[in-house]
Amino acid sequence: MSGEETRILGFTLGMAALAMVAIVPPGLALAWLLARRAFPGKAVIETLVALPLVMPPVATGLFLLRLFGRRSALGRFVHDRLDLDVIFTWRGVLLAMAVMSLPLFVRSARVAFEEVPHRLEQVARTLGAAPARVFATITLPLAARGLTAGLLLAFARALGEFGATIVVAGNIPGRTQTSALAIYQLIQLGRDDAALRLCLAAAVLAFVALFTSERLLARSRA
């Protein structure tokens, strides 16, 4: 692999890893709420969270572009007050990866939380543990394998993210080009050999992430 290809893979891995860091706190909170609480509008939240799974990724990308573009209030706030540019920068890559992989993590994490017997959490409360301690010492450790498996699945999804990324971050070599975008560009340029090398590398990474995820899930259900 050329230095450029290695750099693209490194950038993609780094962005996907950062996206995972970004989705863990909201993902855990959402998954826990969906698994353990009944509240008005729960079905709507569930549907909204799952929506990026079934929408065309470019459509999700367009929504994000509108949401974070300079013409929206949120976009202006992020640009003027926080002095951050999202669109057509690495932050756009991160945003697209995070939004597209969040549903997979939330769905897996929700199942992982639901599989923790509620009885154990209740008994922990009667032993003097406040809800935060119950979550940290009972719920989280018992759901850990399922959560890790879900995170790896989301990571694999983020590695391959294309549609939303190209709309939000563009395909700027050296700045926002991930492996999926680079593969697309190489095919367009007729450089099929280079495209195939990147495809192979992407497949190996995705295989490792998915395989580990499946193994963890199998062990958590054993």
Partner: protein
């Protein structure tokens, strides 16, 4: 113990639990057929469910008072709860299960004392996975005791334990009563267990208390009204 349950109501799917009683015994036995509301009553007392009406006081300490909009959360009630299956934490060793609710200060000393009473000292460094039914229940009991409860609720703790083993566990419960002096509310289907352990008994049917008195009186009372 002095546990006052005043005008408590909790709607359940098939009937409404309605309880008005004051328990004063060292060990009170709670009888009733499956589905009579026994577990729901224990969950009310320990704070895992909220009553829709009524109040609860333990030794003068308020646990819940619907009219006053007061509700003490389970972690602040100091009421131990041993459910039917023991509910041991599968990712913790026996020792760490036992110490889960213990205060940091005298935990180790009390661990040794309680483990000796329950005859589980040799199990302390084992995983909970390999424990037998009787061992699991004794560990669950020990874990509840180490949290220094002012009242211990036992929900048919030995339902899954075979009869010879039950015979060995009854004296252990008697030692908890006599040596550790922890008041208990004990749910059981077995008249001989209630007679052996309890000095007060209740019978619950369809969410209502249909008999309350000494174990002998309650056992002799007609079951249907």
């Amino acid at each position: 113990m002095k546990l006052a349950l005043r005008g408590l109501r909790l709607p359940l799917p098939r009937f409404t639990l309605e309880v008005d009683v004051e328990l004063r015994g060292r060990v009170a036995g709670l009888f009733g057929a499956s589905g009579a509301g026994k577990t729901s009553l224990l969950e009310l007392i320990v704070g895992l469910r909220r009553p829709t009406e009524g109040s609860m006081y333990l030794g003068g300490r308020m646990l819940a008072d619907v009219a006053a909009r007061r509700f003490v959360r389970p972690e602040r009630r100091r009421i131990g709860y041993v459910p039917q299956d023991g509910a041991l934490f599968p990712h913790l060793s026996v020792r760490r299960n036992l110490l889960y609710g213990a205060s940091n200060g005298d935990g180790a000393k009390r661990l040794a004392e309680i483990a000796a009473v329950l005859e589980i000292t040799p199990l302390l460094d084992r995983d909970v996975d390999g424990l037998s039914g009787g061992e699991r229940q004794r560990v669950a009991l020990g874990r509840a005791l180490l949290a220094s409860p002012e009242l211990l609720l036992l929900d048919e703790p030995f339902a899954g334990v075979d009869r010879p083993l039950r015979g060995r566990i009854l004296p252990v419960l008697a030692r908890i009563r006599d040596e550790l002096r922890v008041p208990m509310l004990y749910v059981s289907h077995e008249p001989e267990e209630i007679l052996a352990l309890c000095d007060e008994a209740l019978r619950l049917d369809q969410g209502r208390i249909i008999a309350h008195g000494t174990p002998a009186e309650v056992l002799a009372a007609p079951i249907s009204l």
